[in-house]
Symmetry: C2
């Protein structure tokens, strides 16, 4: 895959988060020593839409083919710190029957233990920024390094931070434009059972835009200009859900950067592209299908989503 040519209006986007080596077991298969981490999935998804900058850290053991994968997608890895004397973040997980949940079997933080995101000088004016679900304190540090106050900031989080570092998270929310969150996390964070009420409450907690992900049930968008709902793309060859949410968020920020807009019509389209990218990710282990699928497949799924929702 050659580095894509982006439309003229495209602005760059910045992805900050984990880059990992994963071992994943599903009820049907398993795969070891594969490229993982939120920022890996997100940056590859984003790279389909806009020039993409990656900030993260890996160890000296990080396989060359993984670096090559990033460069094939034209991803700028100037911000990817390679700590020669350390090892890459390692995650091993096992999904329950019917993918109803998953257990983390092993975590080796390695280089991630002391990770503090440092933005190269040229990254500091990136107009579209995604904060992967790293600790809120680190997400704050990224925002602190941005120059000016005009960047559009998307943040992801997860239940651990909601439970462990709630004050940091609460302070982060007013600093971001868009929060991407899943069903359970939205209930945990708001105390609301109804997802509609949860979404509205989250908007009052800071971010003016909320995207609530519901896995196989699609996603909901709460935007100052209106509400939007989209189903999941009907995947039939489901292999591994790891990274689906990260690909979703990456495509979202990438598309917004590509049109340099964040109004409701742009967000709706971004959510549809995000849905298409997530559907590719679950069709293989690691980033394989997301990476090989190509923009044509994404565009065709986008169009299918259009057809299957229009009445």
């Amino acid at each position: 895959m050659p580095a894509p040519k982006y439309p003229k209006a495209s602005r760059p986007c910045l992805i900050v988060g984990s880059v990992a080596i994963d071992r994943v077991a599903t009820p049907f298969a398993q795969s070891d020593n594969i490229l993982g981490g939120a920022a890996s999935y997100a940056s590859i998804a984003a790279s389909y839409f806009a020039p993409t900058r990656l900030v993260g850290a890996v160890g000296g053991d990080f396989p060359k083919p993984f670096l090559k994968r990033f460069s094939k997608h034209g991803i700028d890895t100037t911000g990817l710190q390679i700590e020669k004397d350390s090892k890459t973040f390692y995650w091993s997980g096992k999904y329950h029957e019917n993918f109803a949940g998953r257990d983390t079997l092993e975590i080796q933080l390695n280089v991630f233990e002391k990770f503090s995101p440092t933005l190269p000088e040229v990254y500091r004016e990136t107009p579209y920024v995604m904060l992967g679900a790293i600790q809120p304190a680190l997400q704050h540090r990224v925002v602190d390094q941005l120059k000016g106050k005009n960047a559009f900031i998307l943040a992801d989080t997860f239940d651990l931070w909601i439970n462990m570092t709630r004050p940091d998270l609460d302070r982060l929310l007013p600093r971001v434009d868009l929060l991407v969150i899943n069903e359970d996390e939205s209930r945990l964070l708001t105390g609301e059972t109804s997802l509609i009420l949860a979404g509205r409450k989250l908007r009052k907690m800071g971010p003016r835009i909320i995207v609530l992900k519901k896995g196989e049930h699609g996603s909901l968008l709460f935007h100052p200009e209106g509400f939007f709902a989209i189903p999941a793309y009907p995947v039939t060859k489901f292999v591994d859900p790891t990274g689906a949410g990260d690909s979703y968020a990456g495509a979202l920020i990438g598309y917004l950067a590509s049109v340099n807009r964040s109004d409701l019509p742009a967000l709706k389209k971004a959510v549809a592209y995000a849905t298409a990218c997530a559907s590719l990710t679950v069709e293989s282990f690691s980033v394989d299908r997301l990476s090989s699928g190509g923009r044509k497949t994404i565009d065709s799924r986008y169009k299918e989503l259009e057809t299957m929702t229009r009445f």
Copy 2:
């Protein structure tokens, strides 16, 4: 509400199912001696779209205001057997916290114990028929009484019949055009976890059209001409889910009768109207909100659904 005037193309529809007196407790409120039963919800919903005929049975205790409710909606109750010496089917249920499930506290079958649906002669050529979730053996009896083989037949079912009378149900499926089923029932009936695979498998079991209801997550339509997905209407004033699925199915058959079509574009619109009607039902106990909402509210929710799904 005056009896509605229907468009010229409208054909009549027939609803067969339970008419009941309910007692419902939710985590927030309760209501006693209210109009219930699948055929009550379904016929009122259907009556917004097409001339509606009702087949069911009630006892001598059936309150006059409930009968009046049907006639206000222009529903033809010639087929509603009133057994003076018996009592109406009584159901009492209690919803769990967060509406995550419900317990049946009391059932008095009463007149329903010996109920066998008998279609008045003039009903036997009704071109659009909904079989509420009564025993499959009784659903068969309704189909047996239909004249000619051109009626479009929608069937509902529920987990009890899947578990208890599976052979009857299996024989029914090839006799119906459209099966309306919920998430759990679809998994129970097919053994598939993926709703996409479940929907496809159900089509192979007989009905050429499947509508898979997912409650707050909307619904999926599997049609020979294509796939369609729609979110739920974003209800914020959630009171009682009882009858939502029945209103949904009733609106579905009513809309199809009103346009006298069952192609994909018609089914998509029918599913959208069904979604709008179900959203009204959950906003009150019994049929109150569904009945008082009126066609204008239904049309406006239909339009909102259009807006909130288009990108």
